[in-house]
């Protein structure tokens, strides 16, 4: 007993739990921290608090019945998950998608991406102690939710895409509403820049803090804004153009610094690019069907395995499916971006101050149900 006590006294580190109920983790994530004063010696994320085994669910229901599950993983960018899943099945079963449906998919996914980035923007600044921007961001995001609700029928956990198309056509009021929203956000973004991006407190909290190197991103398989903030020009929409993304003119914001500020800037600039894509898609929106002429009834992909990736708001979301030729998946693997992005947290935060590590965690843009699946 005495020896044990002595050992504890000699050891100058202590262990604390961050979470599983902690506002900075944005959900039920726990991080086991070994601390030396205010400095982190070791950080180990503990996952699984909201694990629901979506992959097993995929194996015990038909392909179509799994569709609603897609909106319940990354609940902030549910349409990207819709897109990844239906695109994988369309590739496997060789289903053709009418052009109008693809355009509608792009428009709605990009709207969803903006809403996801807006929520991240508000919540991230909230993590750093600034309360007001959250209210502004939610005000903007509300407009998108209204627009998406009018076509998809839901506000958050969308289940809008179908094999071969989309469930509902967009109408004129959606198109004018979207154009108005873009006009509005274009006016708001400079204000965010002036109030938040150029704010000296924000800069001091983010600049040169939480560096993630190119090589670290590669070894951990980080994608999305995390990789692009580390100088990696990788976006599935450009790298591996799916849907009709090759028909639009847009840029991929890449920042070389690798710090939390760079990841912040990537997302802020991405919203502008998403608006460019939406505008072009609305201009070019073709007339026609939103589902194949011959209705897709029973999907039975040929035996074999298939992979399809899309760019979700947080990075590359991949679906690897193994079909045995029946109407149910033999194996359905969901590669979620934040899972890989968070896995580098332990290495990246070694020796960092705890408040800086929380800033880094915020800049990773975590959605816990997507990590735990």
């Amino acid at each position: 007993m005495n020896g044990l006590l002595q050992q504890d006294l000699n050891q100058e580190t202590f262990t604390i739990n961050l979470g599983p109920q902690h506002p900075a983790t944005h959900g039920v994530l726990r991080v086991k921290l070994v601390m030396d004063g205010e400095y982190i010696v070791e950080a180990e994320p503990v996952l699984g608090y909201i694990h629901r085994m979506h992959e097993k669910m995929g194996e015990n229901r038909t392909w179509a019945k799994f569709l609603p599950n897609c909106g319940r993983m990354d609940y902030l960018c549910a349409l990207s998950y819709n897109h990844g899943y239906v695109a994988a099945i369309e590739r496997a079963a060789g289903i053709e998608v009418p052009e109008r449906a693809e355009y509608i998919r792009v428009i709605t996914v990009e709207l969803n991406r903006i809403s996801s980035h807006l929520l991240w923007f508000g919540a991230f600044v909230l993590d750093l102690g600034g309360f007001t921007p959250l209210l502004y961001a939610f005000d903007d995001r509300e407009q998108i939710l209204d627009l998406l609700e009018s076509v998809t029928g839901s506000r958050l956990t969308y289940c809008y895409f179908r094999f071969g198309g989309v469930y509902n056509d967009i109408d004129d009021s959606f198109i004018t509403g979207t154009r108005e929203f873009i006009k509005r956000l274009r006016e708001r973004l400079p204000m965010y820049d002036a109030l938040v991006t150029k704010n000296i407190i924000l800069i001091k909290r983010l600049k040169d803090i939480g560096p993630i190197s190119k090589d670290m991103a590669r070894r951990y398989g980080a994608t999305g804004p995390v990789a692009r903030g580390s100088g990696i020009n990788f976006d599935v929409r450009k790298h591996e153009p799916y849907s009709v993304y090759s028909e639009f003119d847009f840029d991929i914001p890449v920042y070389e610094e690798g710090d939390s500020m760079a990841r912040y800037m990537v997302r802020m600039k991405e919203m502008e690019q998403s608006m460019r894509i939406i505008e072009q898609a609305l201009d070019k929106l073709p007339e026609g069907d939103i589902q194949p002429k011959k209705a897709v009834k029973m999907v039975k992909p040929e035996k074999g395995d298939y992979y399809h990736a899309v760019e979700a708001a947080r990075g590359s979301f991949g679906v690897r499916l193994v079909s045995n030729g029946t109407n149910t998946a033999y194996r359905l693997k969901l590669r979620s971006p934040t899972y890989s992005n968070l896995s580098l947290f332990g290495e990246a935060t070694k020796g960092m101050l705890l408040p800086d590590a929380l800033a880094l965690m915020g800049s990773l843009d975590l959605v816990i149900p997507e990590i735990d699946r």
């Binding site: 085994m53 590669r218 070894r219 693997k333 590669r335 890989s340 580098l344 290495e347």
Partner: protein, 204 residues
């Protein structure tokens, strides 16, 4: 061209596994033909990629095997990207996976995911590794089949640190043991979980 480069690099792993991969009957047949094919002209053209030095050394043996070559020689297989979604598919025995990961890492690939598939009818578990490249579109799939009753495969988490979590997850779901893994504790399942839900014979 990245695809050609990585294909060639991965081919080197197959040099000594000609026999392991072949079905036992085929190997026996090869021995029988050996004498007959001794003076047959060596059909070098159709040979799989191998280092030229070794080819010359084992000319006669190679020729005999060539004489009744099975339709697909072992080696990384190029797949149709449009329908499959990946470019290169390499099936390897478990002990070769680390070498493959080293090759991919040298070429700058990043790891997308690791997962398993339970082939219960064949009493096998398959481990599937997905790799991709940041600069050029090239998706590489490495797969390895394990005995379902003794699923063991060496870890690649010392090469790709991101593999750490993917391997833990695969251990959670399938019970596959990644030897040498620094911390093969349940990650997504409860810490005392002793079940593997993605096995086909798992009943809740």
């Amino acid at each position: 061209m990245l695809l050609a480069r990585i294909k060639e690099a991965l081919s080197s792993l197959y040099e000594d596994i000609q026999e392991i991969q072949e079905a036992p009957e085929a190997a026996e047949a090869a021995e029988e033909v050996e004498t007959a094919a001794a003076d047959a002209a060596p059909a070098e053209d159709a040979q799989p990629e191998e280092s030229p030095a070794e080819q010359k050394e084992s000319d006669s043996e190679e020729a005999s095997e060539e004489a009744e070559e099975p339709p697909a020689p072992p080696g990384p297989r190029e797949t149709d990207y449009k329908t499959k979604g990946y470019h290169l598919d390499a099936a390897l025995p478990p002990e070769k996976v680390v070498a493959a990961a080293e090759i991919l890492s040298q070429q700058g690939f990043f790891i997308e995911a690791i997962t398993g598939v339970d082939w219960i009818d064949e009493q096998q578990l398959e481990v599937v590794y997905d790799f991709n490249h940041f600069d050029e579109l090239c998706r590489v799939v490495i797969r390895s089949r394990l005995d379902r009753n003794e699923p063991e495969i060496p870890t690649i988490s010392h090469i790709y640190q991101g593999a750490n979590w993917h391997e833990r997850e695969t251990h959670d779901f399938f019970g596959i043991i990644f030897t040498g893994h620094p911390n093969l504790e349940p990650l997504l399942l409860p810490e005392d979980a002793d079940f593997h839900p993605l096995l086909k014979d798992f009943k809740a």
